[in-house]
Symmetry: C2
Subunit: 183 residues, 2 copies
DNA sequence: TTGCGCATGTAACCAGTTACATGATTTC
DNA sequence: GAAATCATGTAACTGGTTACATGCGCAA
């Protein structure tokens, strides 16, 4: 039931904001830095069809505007439920290591679906998981630094700094949400 | 000829350092934070077979150690040539946006294959491409900030900060290489 | 003798890439 | 009427995921 690709969830998130056609979605991916998804029709149209087959979106042809037929998609209640389930998954180590972008996507749409309180909880979980991961990474880097060529060492260092930057971001975002909830 | 996956190049890079078996490679992916590649046999063994079919690596069974047969792989001259070609590709915008990890992988093995001078050139190209990309991103964020919910805005902000952190890293790495070449 | 670590592999499934195809409408 | 843009779609190919299968050698 919830075996959707990340692209599928990105589409659900956008369709939760407003009904859109496949072409609209392509333009969004082409013009905004969201995710890094491809705007190719070979990715988006099949993904929309899959979502429709699973009952997560519904599409209808609009012919009113005189242009060529546009098939506009809406998210269904079932689709919204699936989207929320995806957003609610606990954050595990492997999400941090190999699916950070998916985590950020889950977060990006969280305000709309869950509101500030749960979004804040998500950020705290994210920060916690990050802070438990980074020390081991640093340790690994320190332990193996002398065996590695300079470029290898620097590449690893880049990864560590990447995680550290994300942790700083998460902490700033936490205070941003805390301020908002008090004010 | 050069239609290899990123995993294939990661394998080539590791095999350029020393001959290894599939199992060795799996252990490396499982125990070090390199790339974020899967250590699953379903990814690595087929990838090794493909490399072998294309003549980029060669494998031979070692039976000396009394354990079960180990197939150990070496990189071939053709494999090294392909690896260097991959590392030498110019850095384009899309590499920055959607394939940063691949760029970091190319860099990680560059010391061994090309030496300090060309590695430094790579870093300069990387930094240049990043600095040409970031202002537009910042501009986009600033232009659309008020239409977006807080979480969406922060998610975008995270992306921008990510690029900025990488740029700082690149600049520090450049000075590291410059120091090394003078000293 | 049971079970674990070493070691290699296969098969079904799924989704993204690339390239191609089609046709309507607007603009020059 | 030619070209650009809007708009949707398909098909071949490729490679990763997941799960399963196999078999050796060693230690408890």
């Amino acid at each position: 039931m919830n075996n959707d690709s990340v692209l599928g969830y990105a589409l659900l998130g956008l369709l939760h904001q407003q009904p859109l056609s496949g072409y609209d979605l392509r333009k969004i991916f082409a013009s905004t830095p969201i995710g890094g998804f491809s705007d190719s029709p070979g990715a988006i149209y099949p993904a929309l069809r899959r979502l429709q087959e699973r009952g997560l979106v519904r599409g209808e042809v609009q012919k009113s505007t005189g242009l060529r037929k546009r098939r506009v998609f809406w998210i269904t209640p079932k689709g919204l439920a699936s989207f929320k389930t995806w957003q609610s998954k606990p954050i595990v180590r492997d999400d941090i290591v190999r699916r950070v972008e998916e985590l950020l996507l889950r977060f990006a749409f969280m305000d709309q679906t869950f509101g500030a309180e749960r979004t804040l909880a998500f950020l705290r979980e994210f920060a916690k998981e990050l802070s438990s991961y980074i020390p081991g990474l640093r340790k690994h880097l320190h332990a193996h630094a002398n065996e590695m060529p300079l470029s290898g060492r620097l590449a690893l260092e880049s990864g560590v700094q990447d995680y550290e930057a994300r942790l700083r971001w998460a902490r700033r975002s936490i205070t941003a949400y805390e301020r908002r909830m008090k004010g």
